[in-house]
Symmetry: C2
Subunit: 338 residues, 2 copies
């Protein structure tokens, strides 16, 4: 049976949201979950749910907690027994299949590299974000946070990982891969995008060329690659803008007794909002490390936590890290033969 | 009387939208407008509006038209009599006060530098975008397109120009200036943002530090600076995302006879949409050149054209290029004294 380690102390509302998300996930997915965190704190939270499935949810004691804004280097030095480190160690040892956390993203990435290790041929892990598009099918944008300074080879590696993710998890047979730039022509953009354009054109991927900002949400690409600075800005701008639009819309058409005879129900609006709410969307896969790891937003509610756990289960069942490892090894073999 | 040169051949729907926008602008603003383009074409369009104010709208013959996707270097070499070149030349000679175009942005920028010239102390012009925010007050984001590779000094110059724009045009007494980065701490981001953070901290500007993507739309900063690659991506992502949200929203709540009893009127929705529609928002100021120049979206309708003309008139009346020039000269004098 698949077993996921959930960092119980990651979210802004930990361990409540994690515990509730875990209860939803075990019920819906029929898996086992270990909650990592200070035993007494996590057990007390679990005990608020009398009759919880004891066989499916355990507590793994991890006495230390890394704070959301704690400097990463310091956190790692001072807190070897953090819920992140202890949880990842168990996955690395094969005692569990994947790790999920809504905690400090920087710490998660660094500890993942240290404990779960990079896939041999890869230089850097990438954080992917699953975005809604106009077509209704999602697009995977990567990297959205791990790598502020990137080289063209890194973006090619991100594209290969994204392609595997799209085929395995998004059920896209032949994923269309785009490169974020500021013009559709090959020569537009900066040095990084021009060089990356060449590499992607020569690859075996279905490369559709440069994608401008609006193309990210048009759905013409299944996988969109960029450096981590650009990707993180895109993700945060999208969060901020949709939050603003949804808030103003709610004020105008739902809360206000409208003078124009609008009677949009709060329920219908909430349903719409859920589709575009980043708090609700679940997790972001950390790709390029040897084990499954999914990162959630610090504001994640129980539904987002449960969705992230589902993503981790999918990544385990589809053996995504193994497939990335195999593809990278093959590429390396080809390069050596060339 | 203020006279604006409007490139009649810029937009996707030229010269119709330009002509109609000009008619709106002369009526609302009481200014003079010269439409630059092939005389017979533009005059024929004007003649569709019998009784148009002949004293307020003239045609300036510019027989050549630069296409939207034409390579800039080639366009400039082959088309010295383009509507952009001819129009800017008239402004440079003092025969008009400002220039507005919905044409090829790259060509506008390069010809502006050649013909209207940079303000002496500045290295690069910047394109600003006026974005809506949660507070209801707009924010100016720059640069959104001109400079794919930037140095810290360029971003400082953008911030100074943005500050002057916010004080002059947005009526903000003490503009709060933010720097786009991927974390709020000074050390987060890439090399460019870390160095720029230092420069901005030492400046006389009201620098509020790094602003993450969502901060652009929260309204906490009046002026937000970044390199032109990042800014253009932000602008295009915002366009794409709001287009998607508005389209899905319209389908769900306006067009569909909803099963949940929603009866949102198309009229009310259109009003909402206008507030967040990039096609409707008007122009983007090109800052750093000696004359007033405003760039519009290629999809601009007559309202957007009229709004862009209004922005140009404001820039002329508030003497923004002169104020930027004076501030830069003063900064240079201070630097020499140090």
């Amino acid at each position: 049976m698949t077993r996921i380690i959930l960092d119980a102390m990651g979210s802004d509302n930990a361990p409540k949201n994690e515990t509730e998300g875990a209860l939803v996930a075990v019920r819906e997915l029929g898996i086992e979950i270990s909650l990592a965190g200070p035993r007494s704190v996590v057990q007390a939270e679990l005990d608020k749910h009398p009759g919880y499935p004891i066989s499916a949810i355990q507590v793994v004691d991890a006495p230390q907690v890394i704070a959301m804004d704690e400097p990463v280097a310091q956190a790692i030095r001072r807190k070897p027994q953090s819920s992140i480190s202890v949880g990842m160690q168990l996955v690395q040892e094969g005692k569990a299949d994947g790790f999920v956390s809504a905690g400090n993203t920087g710490a998660i990435m660094v500890i993942a590299k240290m404990v779960m290790k990079m896939i041999g041929e890869l230089d850097r892990p990438a954080v992917g974000a699953v975005l809604p598009t106009l077509t209704g099918r999602p697009a995977l944008l990567l990297d959205v946070g791990a790598n502020a300074e990137c080289k063209p080879l890194h973006l090619l590696q991100f594209a290969i990982m994204g392609d595997i993710y799209a085929r395995s998890i998004m059920d896209v047979k032949s994923p269309q891969v785009g490169l974020v730039s500021i013009g559709e022509e090959q020569l537009k953009g900066n040095e990084l995008t021009r060089e990356t354009h060449k590499l992607l054109s020569q690859s075996a991927l279905q490369f559709i060329g440069n994608v401008e900002g609006q193309g990210v949400f048009s759905g013409k690409a299944d996988v969109v690659v960029c450096d981590g600075f650009t990707g993180n800005v895109i993700l945060k701008v999208s969060e901020g803008l949709s939050e603003m639009l949804l808030k103003v819309f709610q004020q105008e058409f739902v809360e206000k007794e409208s003078s124009v005879g609008s009677g949009l129900s709060l329920e219908a609006f909430r349903e719409f909002r859920r589709r575009f709410d980043y708090e609700e969307s679940g997790g972001a896969p950390l790709l390029g490390i040897k084990n499954v790891c999914v990162i959630c937003h610090g504001r994640s509610g129980q539904r987002a936590i449960a969705n992230a756990i589902k993503m981790a289960v999918d990544l385990v069942e589809k053996r995504v890290p193994e497939r990335i490892g195999a593809e990278m090894a093959q590429l390396k073999a080809l390069a050596i033969r060339d």
